[in-house]
């Protein structure tokens, strides 16, 4: 492994080459996070069904040979560009407090353990965005997963000050109606980072920006400005959890209307916190419904990492076991991103993970959604 790196360093210094961001079709079959990150072969490309490049994916054992061959070809030459990889995991861990959900402590301990195991292999996500981390028992993840920096989202007392609970009647005894936000749980948002978080912002949705029983949680947005070593600019990473649809037990039209309002608020939040850094927006946006997704994607106008990854010429690979629909439409968890003027960003690997069970119990009702991004301080040139 080390030998490979040394050889690569030499090759790099001689040729001044950097990877091409262009797409090369690579079958998903056989491509796993560990073979990619730990075996040192970071696939750059993705395709969903093409199996013609199985040789590339069969653990990439002949990579040195391939490298030598490839050096004779013309690749993009972007001399002086600093490119770094950033692994970002978004994970709704369904940590509802007791008595809503019981027997969860072992599940959270297992999640922490899995992150530790990956850390030991050097493949851990650099940044983890948690949603529904309501329960105090989730502290095991915060304290033991090995992350140096933690940004917690608003608690239940950090209330939005404006708005009215939508169900409150205006007709009777309004002086004893609880028109202010009545929150019984915090935002459930947490950002864990290996890299320094140099700034943290949050905003809770107002009480007329929630519907149904979701209003009992202090649904919010949070932003961590992360100083990623090697990049000319920090990266702004936004985490949020939007209003659910059916489980909110709110009228459908209202639920959709509220989701649109939350989307508007996220757009506002991005504008308020944005300072021209590259941005990654990830979380549980509850956008599985077409009408929700369409409005959301159009409004925030960022690139959907999943869509980008599965599209042709995207330079991205989808992990073994991760179906295309699990990153496109059959999911409420999403990643979006936007480059800055000086830092380009693109996904190169996507995986839906944390699918294991513990004593027959799923770790969460969501899978993790992990994307490996490459960020370059100069735009990656095309060949």
């Amino acid at each position: 492994m080390e030998g490979s790196f040394l050889m690569m360093r030499k090759l790099l210094s001689v040729a001044g080459l950097l990877l091409s961001g262009n797409a090369i079709a690579v079958a998903g079959e056989g491509a796993t996070r560990d073979t990619i990150a730990a075996a040192g072969a970071t696939p750059v490309v993705a395709s969903i069904s093409d199996v013609t490049l199985a040789s590339v994916n069969s653990n990439l054992t002949s990579v040195n040979t391939a490298l030598n061959t490839a050096l004779n070809t013309t690749l993009a030459s972007v001399s002086g560009a600093a490119t770094v990889g950033l692994r970002v995991l978004s994970y709704n861990i369904q940590a509802l407090p007791s008595p809503l959900k019981k027997g969860t402590a072992p599940l959270f301990a297992r999640i922490a353990e899995m992150l530790q195991e990956r850390r030991a292999k050097g493949t851990q996500p650099h940044v983890v965005l948690l949603q529904e981390a309501f329960d105090k028992k989730t502290d095991v993840i915060l304290e033991q997963a090995g992350y140096r920096y933690i940004l917690k989202g608003p608690g239940k007392k950090t209330k939005a000050k404006l708005g009215q609970a939508h169900w409150v009647q205006k007709t009777r005894k309004s002086y004893v109606k609880f028109t202010d936000p009545q929150k019984f749980m915090g935002s459930g948002l947490v950002i864990l980072s290996d890299y320094p978080i140099i700034k943290g912002h949050h905003k809770s949705f107002n009480s007329d920006e929630c519907a149904g029983i979701d209003c009992m949680a202090n649904k919010s947005m949070q932003m961590a400005r992360i100083d990623v070593p090697g990049l000319a600019q920090p990266v702004d990473i936004v985490n949020s959890h939007f209003n659910s649809r059916r489980s909110a037990k709110a009228p459908r039209k209202l639920s959709l209307k509220i989701h649109h309002k939350q989307t508007d608020k996220l757009k506002w939040f991005l504008k308020k916190t944005g300072v021209g850094n590259p941005v990654i927006v990830a979380g549980d946006f509850n956008t599985k419904q077409g009408a929700r997704y369409e409005y959301f994607a159009k409004k925030i106008a960022l690139t959907d990492a999943g869509t980008q990854c599965v599209s042709d010429n995207a330079g991205c690979i989808i992990a073994k076991g991760t179906k295309v629909e699990m990153v496109l439409f059959d999911t409420n968890d999403k990643h979006f991103y936007e480059a800055s003027d000086t830092v380009s960003i693109a996904p190169y690997f996507i995986e839906r993970n944390f699918a294991e069970t513990l004593d027959g119990k799923e770790l969460s009702d969501h899978l993790g959604y992990e994307i490996h991004y490459k960020l370059s301080s100069q735009p990656v040139a095309n060949d």
Binding site: F5, M8, L12, L18, L19, S20, A37, G40, A41, T42, V44, V45, L53, S55, L60, V63, A66, L67, A70, L71, T73, A82, V84, G85, G122, E143, G146, Y147, I150, L151, G153, P154, K161, L162, W167, Q169, K170, T171, S174, Y175, V176, T179, D180, K183, L192, D194, Y195, I197, G200, H202, I213, M216, P229, G230, P251, K253, W268, K272, G315, K374
Partner: protein, 278 residues
């Protein structure tokens, strides 16, 4: 195709190498206490008006007097205004919110309650004296969990009309039928002190040509079931309606006023209005 594959490998390797170099300054084997970063709230652009409320007009149907069999319908105005959600005036009530907690709201309140109009009672109650409008001071408290609510009010008369106390307790749940319609069923109970009850249901010796003297004791005197509806017409307009069915209990039910020809232990109150929200 092989060339393509090798490019993929190369790209991956070079990228990893680049990343490996840039990330080498970071110790990923960190095992200490994490650093919790302070997060700052972003101020909202929205400004909340100090004043809010509603102004409506509609029709009200109510018993001619407490315990009456007959009802009167009349044009009615509906007004509510509040300042910073602390000071409020709502139809016949005026008060201030003193405690504004997550689970409890409480404050002081005053109200006026109509008595018995002489014109209405003359025929049915055999000349029984009218009861003036009373002015009462009191306390209120309310608790709510999601759409379930429970409120209580206690009043004492300061106008000398009945010189007693009364208390009202009601609870309900707001159903969202759709995005613009809410329906709230409410159950309530009202209690009155001896003096209060005697003023509205008692009969002094010789006070009436048709009723014997009656001394009403204090206690629970009214149970009611109410349905309240609110249909949002637009952002600023709302249609509202309510219907209350009451059953008089205890010494109120036994009162000759209630049991007589002009009385009834079943009471109906209704309200229908269109209101403008501000």
């Amino acid at each position: 195709m092989t060339n393509v594959a090798t490019r993929a490998c190369l790209g991956g390797f070079l990228f990893l190498l680049s990343f490996h170099i840039s990330a080498s300054d970071v110790d990923f084997r960190f095992s200490g206490k994490p650093i919790y970063i302070q997060s700052e709230d972003i101020e909202d652009d929205r400004k909340k008006d100090n004043w809010s409320g509603r102004l409506g007009i509609g029709i009200e149907v109510s018993p001619d007097f407490l315990g009456a069999d007959g009802n009167t319908s009349a044009l009615a105005f509906d007004f509510k205004g509040s300042y910073k959600e602390r000071i409020f005036i709502e139809n016949n009530k005026f008060g201030a919110l003193l405690h504004k907690g997550k689970l409890l709201r409480a404050g002081i309140i005053s109200r006026t309650i109509f008595g018995r109009d002489q014109n209405l009672v003359q025929a049915d109650l055999g000349g029984l004296a009218e009861v003036d409008t009373a002015f009462e001071l009191g306390l209120f408290a309310g608790t709510s969990f999601y759409k379930l609510f429970l409120t209580g009010e206690v009043y004492v008369d300061v106008s000398g009309v009945h010189k007693g106390f009364s208390a009202e307790l009601e609870g309900g749940y707001t159903f969202e039928v759709n995005s613009s319609l809410t329906v709230t069923p409410i159950l309530g109970a009202i209690w009155g002190s001896d003096r209060y009850m005697d003023r509205y249901f008692g009969i002094e010796e010789g006070a009436s040509d048709v009723f014997r003297a009656y001394n009403a004791d204090g206690g629970l005197y009214e149970l009611y079931l109410e349905g309240a509806l609110e249909q949002r017409l637009s952002k600023k307009w709302v249609l509202k309606a309510s219907l209350r069915l009451s059953d008089l209990q205890g010494s109120a039910e036994k009162s000759p006023i209630v049991r007589g020809a002009g009385g009834s232990n079943s009471q109906v109150t209704g309200f229908f209005a269109v209101a403008w929200l501000f």
